[in-house]
Symmetry: C2
Subunit: 576 residues, 2 copies
């Protein structure tokens, strides 16, 4: 059976399978979502009304034996940035969708009235079920209910209370292999788009799924072997390597040491206390408590950077505490206590919000005087205002920029309305170029210049050197291609340094698709995706002025380097 598109019209609760158009045959992940969004969504539409669409697409190799490939992309017009958005997550849900040969789910229209629905998708059927009983409920409980109701083999996608109030920091949540609501296509408020349509959950049951069609098994096998070898040998990605041992939080000490770990709403780039929330400290604590580390976010991952964080008594699993989450809910809020961070992360997962945006928002709210920097319990009370749907909760749910405006804060770390990730662009400038210029709004994953600037991967650059347009561009193009492939972006650590690994990636794509791409095609594939995204944003009203840093980042010197963001406008404009 050929791949299909499932088109879901929430206006009349209809879901129909369509043939995948031939021109979409080689697309996956971000390539699929951005193509469909650019084609079907009017760029000037209100992102929370009926003309917006929400598109889900597994990557090209997702659902196969390819290692670390269980990713899917979610796309639409972002209520946070006003531009096109792709957010992706690693989750068994992605693999199931791919094995069911669903190339994309397109959710369109908008259900009239206040009801919410659950869409159940099996190989033979689709069904809409009233989901009212989960409205206002936390996702930990809801996912538990849903697995009980629909069986523990299903995949679950859902949105939480943040989305119910149309909060622009609402993410789209997927289950991890333990069934926890901890894998997020978090950024850009796509959860609010889903909720705005009246869709609360998607449950997929892959029973009877044919699996991913592989056009050339030999080429595919050869490719994934090369990639596997690269992943198994690179210090960052190998078993027992940096990510496997400490998770993404291995970066806490590294970035703090580099003076680029933002503290207290981007007031400093370094703090000795950061060590207390480092990956090393966390790994030790997990071991002591009886959590799980390493752990995979989807079956078949070699890197296994994930983990299951638990309370001191070893109970109440949260799921992974990623580096970005630890930073956002930790040092950036002046909090240096893993238990506070764990509970904040649990609340974010439970409420269905993006941890990065939530952390930036809490920090801005702290600057605005709602609670003090460092007050972990206060921060938790604050985020729980969302649960109560209070005015304060509704402010926070809109994210960093609106929270800052409402509270009269003018140090707001956003580009295109999206909060900064965990790297201060005054101390590490290439990542700042990515924040400024990616069509996604401030986003580290869009072109992870940290690799060459800090980690010595794919080169070795001075983080303080402002000439970073080229490296950011190249990384952004390559990343768009990776985001289309279905591979986790972390394979990049290995394949940037090991040419055979990159060859393997391309061969695996060739194997699945039955095409003959070469390594030289990676950039152009990424470029065609980003071009579509830039075109969408242009039609939505974006100009070069929107590719700029906030004023305080240009003017306030940050310790310890005491520099500002001094990449010129010309350099920024030269990226695309």
């Amino acid at each position: 059976m050929p791949k299909k598109i499932l088109r879901v019209n929430m206006s009349n609760l209809e879901a129909k399978f369509e043939d995948l158009p031939a021109e979409y045959a080689a697309l996956g992940g971000r390539g699929m979502t951005s193509t469909i969004v650019a084609k079907e969504v009017p760029p000037t539409c209100n992102p929370l009304r009926s003309h917006n669409k929400l598109v889900f697409a597994p990557g090209i190799v997702t659902g196969t034996r390819a290692p670390s490939s269980g990713r899917l992309s979610v796309g639409g017009k972002s209520p946070l940035t006003g531009g096109i958005k792709e957010a992706n997550a690693g989750t068994p849900f992605a693999q199931m969708l791919a094995r069911m040969r669903i190339g994309a789910i397109i959710v369109e229209g908008k259900h009239a009235g206040d009801d919410y629905y659950l869409l159940k998708i099996t190989m033979n059927n689709t069904e809409f079920i009233n989901a009212k009983k989960w409205v206002g409920k936390g996702l930990y409980d809801a996912y538990k209910d849903l697995f009980k109701e629909y069986g523990d083999k299903v995949g679950i996608c859902g949105v939480g209370i943040t989305a119910e109030i149309l909060g622009a920091m609402a993410g789209v949540c997927f289950n991890d292999p333990e069934g926890l609501p901890s894998r997020y296509a978090g950024r850009g408020g796509l959860g609010a788009v889903m909720a705005s349509k009246g869709l609360k959950f998607i449950i997929i049951d892959e029973a009877g799924a044919p699996g991913v069609e592989i056009a050339n098994e030999e080429v595919f096998s050869q490719g994934i072997k090369k990639l596997r070898d690269a992943l198994m040998s690179h210090d960052v990605t190998k078993p027992g390597g940096a990510l496997n041992s400490y998770g993404t939080s291995v970066l806490v000490n590294i970035i703090n040491e580099a003076g680029g770990l933002p503290q207290r709403n981007f007031s400093s780039g370094q703090d000795d206390r950061a060590e207390k929330v480092s990956g090393e400290a966390k790994a030790e604590e997990i071991k002591k408590r009886g959590g799980t580390r390493p752990h995979f976010c989807n079956p078949g991952c070699i890197i296994q950077c994930s983990e299951v964080w638990v309370k001191p008594n070893g109970k109440d699993p949260v799921g992974v505490l990623e580096y970005e989450s630890v930073w956002a809910l930790g040092p950036n809020s002046g909090i240096y206590n893993l238990d506070d961070i764990g509970e904040l992360n649990r609340a974010c997962n439970d409420l269905g919000c993006d941890t990065i945006e939530a952390g930036d928002t809490i920090a801005v709210a702290m600057e605005g005087g709602l609670v003090s920097f460092g007050d972990g319990k206060g921060a938790l009370n604050l985020i729980n205002e969302i649960r109560k749907k209070t005015p304060t909760g509704k402010i926070l749910a809109q994210g960093t920029e609106i929270t800052g405006k409402v509270l009269g804060v003018t140090r707001i770390p956003t580009v295109k309305g999206q909060g900064f990730p965990a790297y201060d662009p005054r101390a590490i400038k290439g990542i700042g170029v990515t924040y400024a210029t990616t069509p996604m709004g401030a986003d580290h994953t869009a072109g992870y210049a940290i690799a060459p600037e800090i980690l010595g991967v794919g080169g070795q650059l001075d983080p303080l050197d402002p000439k970073k347009a080229e490296v950011s561009r190249n990384l952004q193009l390559a990343t768009a291609a990776v985001d289309a492939s279905g591979y986790c972006l972390f394979i990049a650590f290995a394949v940037l340094d090991i040419p055979e690994g990159l060859e393997g990636v391309v061969e695996s794509l060739n194997g699945v698709l039955g095409v003959n791409l070469t390594v030289d095609d990676v950039g152009p594939i990424g470029k065609s995706i980003i071009d579509a995204e830039l075109e969408f944003n242009k039609k939505a009203g974006f100009t070069a002025i929107h590719d700029r840093m906030p004023e305080f980042i240009m003017e306030e010197k940050i310790p310890p380097h005491n520099g500002v963001f001094d990449v010129t406008d010309e350099d920024l404009d030269s990226v695309f």
Copy 2:
């Protein structure tokens, strides 16, 4: 003595008189503010940080015997729209400033810390006085205090509690001839800009002022006579005419009849109950209660559309209830009771916020479920949340668009972030073209197409005909010139119909400036102002996409005409 600029640096509390540059000699009002803002304010700056400036400028003939000319403009980068802003008001303050030969006050920098200052300006001196004691106080009491402290001959400009919380609907308030804080350069949040700098009040004492220099007294006298004759003979402007008898609220019945008076957040264009809050009903009530009507907002006005609204017992004067305010705080919120509207208007004046933005905001908050449409007491409680500086108050203080977003409302009547005035653009399309295309954000005064579309002034056009680009453009150009002259825009009713009146206006300008303008120069003068404004906005990141109506205005049919806004994008783009 020649005209001066007073440059006020709030960073170091310095105020210095500078010579007015020769190229500014013929500028006044909006011409002066937009020229200075375009020249001195970086278009991409954060409007609430130190790089923004706030510019005050009386009109060219302001302070002279020219009738209805006591206006001044306030300019800066708007925290509401993100673009250039000019808001103007009629007030004795304007005339005093002009007679002191202060061509402009430029407030720049930003005082560090939380203190607020009062700037006192006399002919010989400037003085900064700590204004802490008025922080958190309503403006009715504050203005009473200030007149007591500084004498009843001073002019007062100030900002209220809305500005203290950096609310984007904070206006800049001036005293009326009774000393009430009821004359507002209201739109676009310039009050927040003033507060952001640490400036709470400006007190001017014109003792010893030389008066406005008139280059050619004969030409001037001839001009103002012609204008006076026109104003005295036109049905709209003459004593006993429409504006004089009923104030601007004379429009309530007219616009309601035309099906263009928005009700309950732009859900209908007509409601029989509107009659209860009409200008006719109000005039009768004022008479009964012992308020004042007609009344002038500044000495020397012939039109005298103003009034003093009072409580049923004849006490507690509010000041004028303008048509726009009555609509915004009345029918648009489902409120059809003049006492409720009066108290809401008092609260807006007291808190220092723009009544139009406040009314749009309340209506959107009603749609978002905070209180019910029609609940006047509830609306008053809501607006008083600003006084208490609660989270709800801080949301509302940011105006219509942010309130709508935070509350999950998608029917938000704004262009460029600024709330719609009192005319539904689906029923009266030329005014909609002005809303969409003026550099100011949705603003009726920028090009008052209601004159030809509804009032038969300056022509007679079908309000439902979408071909209105040309009339809006012509009106916008002429308006920019009027806003520079110091004349009240309402002279336009007379001079659009009576050619001698327009000649008189031009002659009066020639008389003051010693130049030889003709009627044909009016358009080009306006164009040069608007060009500077458009250029600023372009540099601030605005594109044609920002000259568009909100989605619901394009899609939802409004009774009784049951039409949508169907002016084409091409037509909108052809305006400028």
